[in-house]
Symmetry: C2
Subunit: 363 residues, 2 copies
C-alpha cells in the first residue's frame, strides 16, 4: 500500500511538471525577422536574388544547367546574435522532396551552430515539411537566455526563396559578424556542393571553414563542374585569395585533358599570385566492382595529374596538386552510394586535405 | 591540320566505344528471382510475413506502435552467390517517402556488399523511386563475371513487401551461406534501427556484424523502445547468446527507474547464463543547448546506472554496463539532427563499444 501511495503522488508531480512545461511553451510568442536584417555569410559575389551564389543575369553565357545550380544556396549562412531562449525559422525552397542519397535536412533544411568558447558548435536543425515548399520549425528551445553568436546554414541542394528567423517576443536579435577570414573559392562537383553530407553545415567547405577559421566558399555545382570556357571566365572574375579545383569527377577523362590547363591559365591571367590547388576526384567505391567506372576514375585522375605537371614543368608558380588516394580511408564505408562521401568519408577527406592546404593558405 | 585529323579519329574511336558499351548494356537481359530462393539473414524469429522481424500475430499484446516497427525490415539481408556481371533489384515498400533526417536509400532502399578477401566490402545501392511504393534499379554493372558472395540489406525504416534480385540472363545465382556466428540481440530505439545511417548496411548492428563476424540482430523500434512488460516477455523468448539493451533514449527517466530491472530480470528468468549488456543512451547534442533535454538525458543515463548497480549489488551475474560518454567523440559533429548519430557518430560509437563487447562475446 505504501509503495502504491508513493507511486500515485510522484505521478501527480510528473503530470503537473509536464502541464507546466506545456503551458510555458504554448504561451511563448515568437517574433519573426527577415534574414536580410542580419549578416549574410558565404556570398561569392553580389546577386539580385539574395540566396543565389552567382549572378546568373550577369553571366548569361553559362549553360542553363550551371545557372540552375548557382541558384541553390549551398554554403550560404546567416550570422546573428540573440539572447532568445528559443530559435525558430520559417523558410521556403523551390524543391519539395530530396534525392535518393540525401536527407531532406541537407537538401532543403536548415542547420544551426553557436559559438561556444571560441568554437562553432552544432546546435540543431530546421526540418523541412514533407512535400511542401514552405516550412516552419523550432530549431532549439529551452536555451539559457544568455546572448550568443549563431550561424544558420541554408539548404545545399535547393533554391531558398525566403527565410525568416524567429526568436522569443522580448529577445534581442542583431546582425552578427563575418565569422571567417580570407576568401578561398572551392569549385567542384556535387561533392563540394554537399551531396552525402547529413546537414548543410557538414559539407566539406563548411566544415573546413569552422575548423580552420578560413573561409571556404562553396562553388559546387552537382554533375556539371565541367571546366567550360564560360565557367573558367566566371571563376577568374571572383575576388579570391586562393582557388581549389575539385572538379575532376564531373569531366570525362578526355575533357580533363582538354580543359584543365585552360581553367588554371584563365584563373592565373587575372590572379597573378594566388595559389591554385587542383585536387584529384575522390575514388568511387563502386569502381572497385564496376570495371568501367573504376577505369574511368583512374583515367580522370591520371589525366588531371598529367595536365598539372605540364603547367608545373612550364614554370607556372603557386600551383599545387592533391592526390585523392586516402580521401575515404580503407574500410570502403565512406560513401552513401559508392560515389558521394557520407559524413564519415567527408571527415576522412578533411583530415587528408587540411594539413596540405593550411601551409599554402598561411604562406 | 595534323592535330585536327588526330582529334577526328580519336573522336570516332571514342564514339564507337560508347555505341558498343551502350549496345551491350541494352542487349543484356536481366532475369529476376524472388528473394525467398536465397538465404534470409538477420531473422530474429520465424514470421508469416517473410520481411517482418517479430511475429506480430503471435505477440498480440504488443502495442500497435511496437507491432508497426516490427514489420519494418531493419537488419534483414539476403545472402546469395552469383557470377553475374550485373546485379539489379525490384522491390516494394509500404512507404513512398522518407523522414527529415534520413536518406531515401536508408529508409526504403537497398544496400549491397560483396565478400572480398574474406571481408564484406560495400558495392552499391538500390535507389528507391521518388514517391512510389515499388522500385527497380541497377545496383552494379560491369562486374568481372567471377562468382562472388553477396549480402543485400533491406530497408531499415520501411516495411518491405516484395523483393526480387535480377542477374544477367545466363548467370548462375544460388543461395549463400549464413555469414555471421552467434545470436546477439540488440534491443533499442531508432538509433539501433538505423536512423541517421546513410544506408541500411551502415546501421550499427549491421556494421558490427561485418566487422566482427558475430551476428548483431536488429531489434530497434524507433521511438517506442520503452521496456514494457509485454516487450520484455517477447524479448526473453528470443533464442540468443547475448542481449544488448540500448533502449534508454526512448524511456523517460522515471520509466528507466521503473522498468530497467524488470526487463533484465525477465530476460534472466529464461536465459540463466547469457550475458546481458545495458548501454547508456547516446548524448543528445542538442542537450548542450536545450537545458530540459540535456537534463532529461543525464537523468535517463544516471537512472539506468543506478538500476543496473542494484542488480549488480544483489549478486546477479553476467550483466554488464556501458557508459556513453565517448560515443560521439568531442567535436559535436556526430549527429544528423542533435539526436541520431550520422555515419561519423556511428563510427565513433562502434569504436567505443566493440572492444567492450568482444571480450564478453568471446568469454
Amino acid at each position: 500500500m505504501r509503495i502504491s501511495a508513493i507511486k500515485g503522488s510522484s505521478f501527480l508531480v510528473f503530470f503537473l511538471f509536464f502541464v507546466f512545461i506545456g503551458r510555458t511553451q504554448n504561451q511563448q510568442k515568437i517574433t519573426y525577422y527577415p534574414s536580410n536584417q542580419f549578416t549574410m555569410v558565404g556570398k561569392i559575389m553580389d546577386t539580385q536574388q539574395p540566396f543565389h551564389r552567382i549572378d546568373t543575369l550577369k553571366y548569361t553565357t553559362l549553360s542553363s544547367q550551371v545557372k540552375t545550380r548557382m541558384t541553390r544556396s549551398a554554403g550560404l549562412a546567416i550570422s546573428f546574435k540573440t539572447n532568445s531562449n528559443a530559435i525558430y525559422a520559417k523558410w521556403c525552397t523551390t524543391s519539395k522532396s530530396t534525392s535518393a542519397g540525401m536527407t531532406p535536412i541537407a537538401y532543403r533544411g536548415l542547420d544551426l551552430y553557436a559559438k561556444v568558447d571560441g568554437k562553432w558548435q552544432f546546435v540543431g536543425v530546421g526540418r523541412p515539411s514533407d512535400g511542401k515548399n514552405c516550412s516552419e520549425d523550432k530549431i532549439v528551445a529551452n536555451l539559457s537566455g544568455v546572448e550568443q553568436e549563431y550561424l544558420l546554414y541554408l539548404p545545399v541542394y535547393s533554391e531558398t526563396t525566403s527565410l525568416e528567423i524567429g526568436v522569443s517576443e522580448n529577445a534581442l536579435i542583431v546582425a552578427g559578424e563575418q565569422p571567417f577570414k580570407k576568401r578561398i573559392v572551392v569549385y567542384g562537383s556535387s561533392i563540394v556542393q554537399g551531396a552525402g553530407a547529413s546537414r548543410s553545415g557538414m559539407s566539406y567547405p563548411a566544415r573546413m571553414s569552422r575548423n580552420t577559421g578560413f573561409h571556404f566558399f562553396n562553388l559546387g555545382m552537382s554533375g556539371v563542374a565541367r571546366m567550360e570556357e564560360e565557367v573558367a571566365t566566371m571563376i577568374s572574375e571572383i575576388d579570391a585569395d586562393m582557388f581549389i579545383l575539385d572538379c575532376i569527377p564531373n569531366s570525362s577523362p578526355r575533357e580533363v585533358t582538354q580543359r584543365t590547363q585552360n581553367l588554371i591559365k584563365t584563373i592565373r591571367k587575372r590572379h597573378k599570385e594566388v595559389p591554385i590547388v587542383l585536387m584529384q576526384g575522390v575514388v568511387r567505391e563502386i569502381g572497385y566492382f564496376d570495371q568501367i567506372t573504376g577505369e574511368k576514375v583512374k583515367k580522370q585522375n591520371t589525366n588531371a595529374y598529367d595536365e598539372f605537371m605540364k603547367l608545373h614543368n612550364s614554370g607556372m608558380k603557386n600551383i599545387y596538386f592533391i592526390f585523392s588516394d586516402d580521401f575515404l580511408g580503407d574500410d570502403h564505408e565512406g560513401t552513401v552510394d559508392g560515389t558521394h562521401p557520407n559524413d564519415l568519408g567527408f571527415d576522412r577527406m578533411i583530415k587528408s586535405i587540411t594539413p596540405q592546404l593550411l601551409p599554402i593558405i598561411q604562406k
